[in-house]
């Protein structure tokens, strides 16, 4: 249940930045190729924000899909999982999207 630690990190950062103002919305970006389950994060968010300035805030999760770039055929393709195999058959692949784990913004006041 690493989502609890991850959500705690989000809420700590948000509360620090809010400096006492009530937090209404928190927006995070969690790529589809991270081992973070969005629903588990939402569940944890309500628990972790209880008693903080972010209590009752809405959590918005942007989930970019996985994408890769094949060095062999120089094309971009969708990565549904971490198996790094281009449709052309090459495994010489860089992940270009889907591994994001960021706090984007928050709304206070």
């Amino acid at each position: 249940m690493h989502e609890l630690s991850i959500t705690q990190s989000v809420v700590d950062a948000v509360c620090e930045r809010a400096a006492g103002r009530p937090v209404r919305v928190v927006t995070v970006r969690v790529g589809m190729l991270t081992a973070v389950v969005a629903d588990a994060m939402r569940f944890c968010f309500d628990l972790v924000t209880a008693g903080t300035v972010a209590e009752g805030a809405r959590l918005e999760i942007d989930q970019p899909a996985g994408a890769g770039h094949c060095r062999a055929c120089d094309t971009e393709f969708t990565l549904a999982d971490l198996i790094l195999l281009c449709p052309c058959g090459s495994a010489d692949v860089d992940i270009t999207s889907g591994q994001e784990l960021q706090i984007i913004s928050m709304k206070v006041g």
């Binding site: 690493h2 630690s5 990190s9 930045r17 971490l82 790094l84 195999l85 913004s105 928050m106």
Partner: protein
């Protein structure tokens, strides 16, 4: 206007729509695990300054991490100073085993936590006071998911899988295998008795991590352990 709650969202009939929120938007654009990564980076710098190599060992429970450590401590005795950071949710059983093997050890109990983090590593390093140039083996909590996400400041990540587990484990737990620098397939002395395909397992590991090294060992009989010691020496 919303018919349910009277707000100005044109959200249809139900109350399940999201309401616009007034207020100041603050842009953060920061990594979620920034704090952990900062502490990890300080750990890494400190270790590098001391010439110490820390290796983070991860596996599912029962893959043989502690047995591998016991054997390693015994075999490296007199060749290199070794100390151990033991992560478990509860008990000091593993730390007691390591102590009996003749090695400095710090036990970190994570309680409900499913992984070690950089702060725990920092605290453990403080109480361990490892000798310059020594080797620190970190036995993470037995779990093939969570520990992959948390940088401790280690030099390398090692995943241990045993032949009594499924050949397809690298595909089932791709995040862990994608994060690894080395995969150790342990308990190869049991290969005659189990349905485990070493080559296919290695192939699966490389499908999520093309550059990963794979070693086969038996921590019980000692077979293949020299390859592991050579790998450790290469980390310096």
């Amino acid at each position: 206007m919303c018919g349910t709650c009277g707000c100005h969202a044109d959200g249809g009939t139900g109350g399940g729509h999201s309401h616009p929120v007034n207020g100041e938007t603050i842009t953060l654009e920061q990594r979620v695990l920034a704090k952990n990564e900062d502490v990890a980076s300080r750990n890494r710098d400190w270790l590098a300054g001391q010439g110490i190599v820390a290796v983070n060992l991860m596996s599912s429970p029962g893959a043989g991490k502690t047995t591998l450590l016991e054997r390693t401590i015994g075999d490296l005795a007199g060749r290199r100073a070794v100390s151990v950071i033991e992560g478990d949710q509860e008990t000091t059983l593993d730390a007691d085993r390591i102590k009996r093997a003749g090695c400095a050890v710090v036990q970190v109990n994570t309680g409900a936590g499913c992984h070690l983090d950089a702060e725990m590593m920092h605290t453990a390093l403080g109480s361990l006071s490892p000798a310059p140039g020594s080797l620190i083996l970190v036995e993470n909590v037995g779990n093939l998911v969570c520990p992959a996400m948390f940088d401790l400041g280690e030099r390398s990540k090692v995943v241990i899988i045993s032949v009594t587990e499924g050949t397809d484990k690298p595909l089932k737990y791709p995040y862990m295998f994608a994060a690894a620098d080395l995969v150790i397939i342990n308990k190869i002395d049991l290969l005659p008795y189990v349905d485990f395909d070493v080559d296919r397992c290695a192939e699966y590991a490389r499908s999520v991590n093309p550059k990963v090294r794979v070693l086969t060992v038996s921590a019980t009989t000692g077979e293949g352990m020299d390859d592991w010691y050579d790998w450790v020496a290469e980390q310096y």
